[in-house]
Symmetry: C2
Subunit: 122 residues, 2 copies
C-alpha cells in the first residue's frame, strides 16, 4: 500500500457517533427488527437498559430524527411506542456498511492467528 | 420468539467499551493489520487522529493491556512504537464476533427495504 492510500485508512469516518454509542446501537437494532415499533417496556427488556438510560438515549435518537415516539394509552395506562423513521433506516444501513468494513479488516487477524501454531492446542 | 428468548436480545454485552470507542477501534484495527507494530506517526495518519487524542487513547489501550508501547530513538529522534498484545488480539476478535452479530441482525432491515417498492427508483 503506498503512503497516499494509507491516509486515514482506519479512521472509519462513517461510524456515526449518534448510532455507535452502545445503548443507541441496541435500540436501533431492536427497532429495525420490529418495523411496527416497540413499547418502552419492550425496548427496556430487549436492550437490557434502565429506565433512565432508555429515556436518555431514545431522546437523542428522536432529536436526531432517527426514531419517532408516540405517547398514548394502553389498558388505561400511559404507553410510549417507538418506531424507527425512514431517515433512521437509511442512516443505520450506512452505519452497518462501515461495521462490515471493520469486520473485513479484522479478518486479517483471524488469518494470522490461524497460522500461529503456538496459539493452537496440540 | 417467546418472551424468555427475547430477554436482552439486543444488549450486545460483548461490545467491550474499551474497544468500541471509535478512536480506539481505529487504533486496534490499524495495529491488527500490521503485526510488527506501528509508530505514533503512522497511527496518527492511519486513524486520522490529533496528537492529543492519539496519546490519550493509546494510554487507555496500554493500561487495559491490549497494546504495548516501546519508546526509543530512530534517526536520533525520539520514536514511539506500538504493538497489539496477545491479549489485545484475543479481545479484539471477541469484539469483532459481536460486531458480526450486529451486522447479521441488521440484515433484516436490508431485506425489508428491498421489498418496499416506494424506496426503489422506478
Amino acid at each position: 500500500m503506498d503512503e497516499q492510500s494509507q491516509e486515514a485508512r482506519f479512521s472509519y469516518k462513517g461510524l456515526d457517533l449518534t448510532i455507535h454509542e452502545k445503548a443507541r446501537l441496541s435500540l436501533l437494532a431492536s427497532l429495525v427488527s420490529t418495523p411496527k415499533g416497540l413499547s418502552f417496556g419492550d425496548l427496556k427488556r430487549l436492550c437490557g437498559l434502565t429506565d433512565g438510560n432508555l429515556s436518555r438515549h431514545v431522546k437523542v435518537l428522536v432529536e436526531a430524527g432517527l426514531v419517532e415516539m408516540e405517547k398514548g394509552y394502553a389498558n388505561n395506562r400511559p404507553h410510549t411506542h417507538c418506531k424507527i423513521t425512514r431517515k433512521g433506516e437509511g442512516q443505520f444501513l450506512n452505519y452497518i456498511a462501515v461495521l462490515e468494513k471493520v469486520v473485513q479488516d479484522a479478518a486479517v487477524l483471524s488469518d494470522q492467528i490461524g497460522h500461529v501454531s503456538a496459539l493452537k492446542p496440540e
